[in-house]
């Protein structure tokens, strides 16, 4: 529920608001939290023209991207919001009416985006055979939704999760899966090659989907994809449409440093990157809330949106 709050939100308040949203609802996606923060910022902004509003919002976006949360998702959420502002026809003479329109449209978009995970679950379930052995990487809420949906459809799968250092979030994923009644086993990150012969399919979420159809995800994803390709196993990436990014990295080092490291500085090899880039040739299909896409279809979707 939005109320026009009297006090103006400052740029510096953006990050604390964002982080409080995430803490309040652990199921919320970071991109959605970013969009909600920006909407709140826009609501409580004192600008009188669209140009001033846009420049204030850009300031808030830069602030948001300095936070520690998965930066690729935040970046895509922010870009999408900016695009949303420029697309909405703002030809009303009264600025407050324009703002009202923006706020309404924003709420509508957020409602649709909230259903994204459910849609993906329904689209992805036919690809999971009853009795399949699935390998997943680290902790991903979309993948969890998909696996729970499969369990509801009476498909009994066995899941292997990588431990996923440095934050060992594989254990959290294992716990969530076991609570849903799905047998899950944690394996070492280095055991991916060892376990691959027993796997039927590999699945991971994404923090960002780039223009080439590749994905940016927790470090270790690329390794898993290469081993899966060598063993001829299908690799499915699961991501909502608001994670599509307008970037085209050609190799690992081209993936922007601000995504890889918190508090980016020129990288020397003493610090460990948090994410890596998986090229589209290693991904069989992407499950998104738009449709099941081949990697080559991603750039078309991005063009439709941004051009």
């Amino acid at each position: 529920p939005h109320t026009i709050s009297p006090e103006v939100m400052q740029r510096t308040e953006a990050v604390p608001f964002f982080e409080s949203l995430l803490q309040g609802d652990p199921e919320m996606s970071t991109a959605i939290a970013a969009i909600q923060t920006l909407m709140e910022f826009m609501n409580r902004n004192s600008a009188e023209t669209v140009a001033e509003l846009t420049s204030d919002l850009k300031g808030a976006m830069t602030e948001l991207q300095t936070s520690d949360q998965s930066v690729a998702s935040v970046a895509s959420g922010c870009e999408l919001f900016l695009r949303f502002i420029t697309l909405t026809a703002l030809d009303k003479p009264d600025f407050n009416e324009c703002k009202q329109l923006l706020v309404e449209r924003g709420q509508l978009y957020l409602q649709k985006a909230a259903q994204a995970r459910q849609k993906i679950g329904k689209l992805g379930v036919p690809f999971i055979r009853d009795g399949a052995t699935i390998l997943i990487h680290s902790r991903s809420r979309v993948v969890l939704t998909l696996l729970k949906e499969a369990a509801c459809c009476n498909k009994h799968c066995t899941v292997f999760v990588t431990e996923s250092l440095p934050d060992r979030s594989g254990y959290i994923m294992q716990k969530s899966l076991q609570e849903a009644g799905i047998p899950a086993y944690v394996i070492l990150d280095s055991a991916v090659g060892y376990i691959m012969e027993r796997i039927d399919l590999v699945m991971f979420g994404a923090e960002g989907v780039v223009e080439s159809g590749g994905i940016i995800n927790k470090i270790g994803t690329y390794q898993m994809a290469v081993v899966a390709k060598a063993a001829n196993k299908p690799v499915y990436a699961v991501a909502e449409s608001f994670k599509f990014l307008r970037q085209y990295p050609l190799n690992q080092f081209e993936a922007p440093n601000k995504h890889k490291y918190t508090n980016p500085q020129p990288s020397d090899f003493s610090r460990h990157p948090l994410v890596d880039y998986t090229p589209p040739s290693y991904i069989s299909l992407l499950f998104t809330d738009l449709a099941v896409l081949t990697p080559s279809a991603v750039s078309d979707e991005l063009i439709k949106l941004y051009c």
Binding site: L87, A113, D200, L201, S296, D300
Partner: protein, 352 residues
């Protein structure tokens, strides 16, 4: 579903039922005939049933499509043609109401919160029926000349003194090779494709057209592959990821070609393009298993109780083994198939 069926006249219901039973009785029949008859059926439904808005028509067509697809799931051409017809109906409805093309970009539409395209369909238009029937006639013509459109591209792909390999009997590939043979001299190796031995029929037909043909067993495919310049095959269905649902033996042929870096060219008409993905990597849902008497005749009596015999009809060929698709609209890479899907089918119709 029964509400929409009531819109159909008795004559139409009879036609649909006889169409379905004629397909069920034959083991395999040509996709071209299926596609042609489906368009004819669709045309009759559009002209003979009473409908006031595009929305009702779409519902009726979808019901019929679902009915036919569930009766014979392996015959994908029926569903594909129905989806083409549905896209035509939706496009014509959008054009007559908005004057512009109906463009389903979900991401864009979600952001600008435009009204859904279904709103456009509930409005009645007087000229809609005529416009749709005209487009259906164009679709019928396109299907009728699809084989010809594929054959005229053959000269770009087959050069003098080349060795071409194919397997089984595909009418499309047969016409393709015969069209090239009128101007070029080349050599064809045909794999006989057990247990149906359709390859033998193909070899005979090509030889009668004056093409130098060699017939080989399926097991000799890898051995002969090093001398082959390109592999040209037909397929039953082209799947949404660019993979193939082809007759058995195609995957082995494609793997042998991949090993020797021989390009694999697939000739297929557009009505074979399906928006479905190859979902489960096991045979139960994907394949059609027919009677085993071709593999192990019943005359072999004694051993039958000890042995399980399977005779699958189809093979899945993954998209990275296919080099080029030759559709009636031109040549395309497997990674481009998604684009053709969005051009010819509406996303709401992917699941009829």
């Amino acid at each position: 579903m029964s509400d929409a069926r009531q819109h159909l006249t008795d004559d139409l219901t009879d036609r649909i039922e006889s169409f379905i039973s004629s397909r069920q009785q034959k083991r395999l029949c040509s996709s071209y005939d299926v596609a042609h008859q489906t368009v004819d059926l669709a045309r009759r439904i559009i002209s003979q049933t009473r409908w006031s808005s595009a929305c009702e028509l779409v519902e009726t067509l979808r019901t019929v499509g679902r009915w036919m697809s569930s009766a014979i799931p392996s015959e994908t051409a029926m569903g594909n043609v129905m989806r083409r017809v549905l896209k035509i109906v939706r496009d014509e409805a959008a054009v007559s109401s908005d004057g512009k093309q109906n463009d389903p970009d979900d991401l864009h539409r979600m952001l600008t919160a435009q009204r859904a395209s279904s709103d456009d369909l509930t409005v009645a238009h007087p000229n809609l029926k005529g416009a749709i029937i005209e487009s259906i006639h164009e679709l019928m013509e396109e299907i009728e000349i699809s084989g010809h459109n594929i054959s005229i591209q053959s000269l770009e792909h087959i050069h003098a003194n080349e060795v071409v390999m194919t397997c089984g009997h595909s009418r499309t590939v047969e016409a393709f090779l015969k069209a090239a043979a009128r101007k070029r001299k080349f050599h064809v190796i045909v794999a006989e494709s057990a247990p149906s031995y359709q390859g033998q029929k193909m070899g005979k037909s090509l030889a009668e057209a004056g093409i130098e043909t060699t017939l080989i067993t399926d097991s000799a495919v890898f051995a002969m592959m090093s001398r082959v310049n390109k592999v040209i095959i037909g397929t039953h269905t082209v799947l949404a990821d660019g993979g193939l649902k082809a007759l058995n033996g195609a995957h082995a042929l494609a793997l042998a070609a991949h090993h020797h870096s021989v390009p694999v060219v697939v000739c297929a008409a557009l009505f074979k393009l399906s928006p479905q993905f190859h979902c489960a990597y096991d045979q139960d849902t994907f394949n059609k298993i027919v009677g085993p008497h071709d593999v192990l005749p019943f005359a072999e009596g004694g051993v039958l109780s000890d042995v399980q015999v399977q005779n699958p009809v189809f093979d899945y060929v993954p998209p990275d083994l296919v080099t080029l698709f030759i559709f009636n609209t031109g040549g395309n890479a497997p990674s481009y198939v998604y684009r053709l899907l969005s051009e010819f089918y509406h996303p709401d119709d992917h699941d009829l």
